[in-house]
Structure formats: C-alpha cells, structure tokens
Symmetry: C2
Subunit: 212 residues, 2 copies
C-alpha cells in the first residue's frame, strides 16, 4: 500500500457522508482511503494505526467532536494533516477548527475536483480554505479585536440566559448581587450592548453561549 499515493482516513458520523467522500475519491488513483471512522475516538485509533497523510474530519460528532479530535491529532501525530470537511460555516465553528490546528476547512458543497485538489494541497502542507470560509476569516480579522469574557463573566451570562434575576444569580454563584452587577456591566462593555437581553443574543451570535 501507499506507493506514491496519498493515504487518508475519513471521519464523519454520517454514513451517507462517508459513502459520499469515498465514492468521490474512488476514481482517484493518487488517493487511497485507508480507513473510516464514525467518531473522534475511533479516528484517533485509525491515525495511530495507519499514520495517514491526511485526515478528513467532520466537526460535529459524538464521543469526541471534531475540534478535540483535530487538536489530538495535531498534537500526537504531527505528520498527519487535518482537513475539516463540514456543513457549518459560522464564524465560531471556523475559528475553533482553525485554532485547533486544522490545515484546511472545506464545506460540504465542495466538488470532486476541489476536494481532490484540497487533499493534495493539505498533504503538501498548504493551507486550503473554502472561499466562503476564507471570506469569513478575513472579515473577522478586519473587525476590532473582541476581548474574550472571563470565566466568571461567562457564568453570569449563562445564568442571565436562564432568566435569573441578579439576586438569583448571586445565590447560584455564591457571590453578592453587587458583584453580579459588576460582572454584567463589564461584559456589557465587552459585547458592546447595554442590556442583558441583547447581551445574550450577541453572545449567542458569537458562540460564547450555546445556541438554542
């Protein structure tokens, strides 16, 4: 196996998706699929066993999600390049994937040719981004840096999203109501809003809070 061809593994929890990738790459002599997995843990075993050139991984997966899987692969098997292939093109997903160390980020509407090219580029160590993804990344760079919330501010914000009053939040976090208000005012400033409701909405848009 592997005389000249690229060796890759496919990681996606959707049966149909894995079949799709495999079908698209079947005709491609230069690429050999050496394994497939339906979750992150299984993916790590595959990478351990086969030492592939490229791992194609989805973001949303059970057991171990794509971001964690990517981080693990990058840390433990640096020879294997991780190429994310997913449906999600929100700022947060992209940011997390790239931060975790993926060398590329593709969307599932990629054509066969683009997919093949991307895998080759990734194997050579080149960064490959879907146009829509590149656009978002640039837009994000251009925006003034948004300073992240502290852990405590996030706690307070979560409680706010649960509909608690400041006094109730104080009881939940075992701090004084005055402290709750301090955290709130600081996170309002960071999110550039001036009331709790907008804060929750903006935080969801930015992926700071779980999106319902």
């Amino acid at each position: 196996m592997g005389e000249g061809g690229l060796r890759i593994v496919v990681v996606d929890d959707h049966t149909v998706m894995r079949a799709g990738v495999i079908a698209l790459l079947a005709a491609e002599d230069s690429i050999e699929i050496v394994g497939e997995a339906g979750d992150g843990r299984a993916a790590l075993e595959l990478v351990e066993r086969y030492d592939p050139d490229v791992a194609l991984v989805d973001l949303r997966m059970p057991v171990l999600d794509g971001v964690a899987t990517t981080a693990e692969i990058v840390a433990r098997y640096p020879r294997t390049r991780v190429l994310i292939l997913t449906t999600y093109d929100t700022d947060t997903e992209i940011e997390r994937g790239v931060e975790a160390g993926a060398i590329g980020y593709l969307l599932k509407d990629t054509t066969r040719e683009q997919l093949v090219d991307a895998i080759h580029a990734a194997a050579r160590g080149e960064t490959v981004l879907a146009p829509r993804v590149a656009e978002k990344l640039v837009a994000r760079m251009r925006r003034p840096v948004q300073d992240p919330l502290t852990e405590r501010e996030t706690d307070v914000l979560n409680a706010v999203a649960d509909g608690l009053t400041n006094a109730e939040i104080g009881r939940r976090l075992v701090i004084a109501e005055a402290t709750v208000k301090t955290h709130l005012l600081r996170l309002f400033a960071k999110l550039d809003v001036n009331d709790r409701t907008r804060a929750v909405v903006v935080a969801m848009e930015r992926g700071i809070l779980e999106r319902p």
Copy 2:
C-alpha cells in the same frame, strides 16, 4: 428503465451528500436513481420530467428550500412521495417538514439498509421516521399545546431581541409603551417565562425567533 424497480430523484445542494446517497444505492437493484438536483427549482423540473416514485430531499438548500420544495411536489405531483434526508433534528425543522407533507424524515446518520428500507416503505405510502425524529414528535405531542404568538407579539419580541427598551419598541411599532407591556406580559404567559431575556431564549429554542 424502471421495470419493477423504484425510480427516485436525489435533491441536495452538497455534492458529497449526493455522491454518498448514490453510492449507497448503487448496489441496490430495486432502486434506480433517475436524476439528481442541487436546489429546489431543479428538483421540481426533475420530478416533472421523470415522475419518480420517491424524492429524497434535503431541508437546507439555496433557491428553494426543502420545505417549499416538498410542499410543491406534494401539491403538484401527489404520486411522488417526498422523503426528507437531512442533518437537522430540531423540533422546528421536523415540524415544518412533516407539515409540508413529507411522508418520512430521515437523518444523515442512517445506514444503507435503513435508507433502502425507508425508500421502499415510502413508495408503499408508509410513513417512515428516524427513531430520534419519532421521539421528538411524540415528545412534542405530549407537551401541552403551545399557543402561537400573535403577529404583534412577535414584532415586540423581535424588538426585545434587538435590545430595545419598551419605550423604544413603542416608537418603532408606533404604539404606546403601555401596549408594548401588554403584549410582553401576554407573550410571557404563552412562553411560560417571567422576563424578557428568557422569553428571547425560549423563543429561539422554539424557532419563533431567528436563531443566531
């Protein structure tokens, strides 16, 4: 073509997904794929031309989304059964799909066997739901009926999500602040919450407000 076998069309905007479905069904003699489309409009033309037994359609698509496409097919080509095959399993998506007249709702982690069985069942006119989907539908039925918000209440709620104060909402909708409060109190009751922030979060969960 079509001597005994089921004739189906595949509608999905993701190249990889279409390839996956086709690959999974290729080995199946009883099913013949007579066409594929990447958006709703193209799908309608396919159905018009080939009069398939089953249309496998994704929900999120450009040009004409899955719900609209489903509704069109059901209304104009009642012989063709629509089977939704998608990644999304939120209450709202499911509800919309089923309301639009789909005979089944599958998730993309379906195995080959399940997919084949579902297509046959759909062609016979039987309803087929992925277990996770069925579960959600039942849970929804069991829940006390959630009475829908009136148009005005939705307007107010949208403004609240934008972070406006009651007075500002009044100006935007050209009504008195007192009226705004009336609408708010009524929608609080409907959503079973007691503050504006929670109302926004719950409304997003239920798909009443756009999810960020």
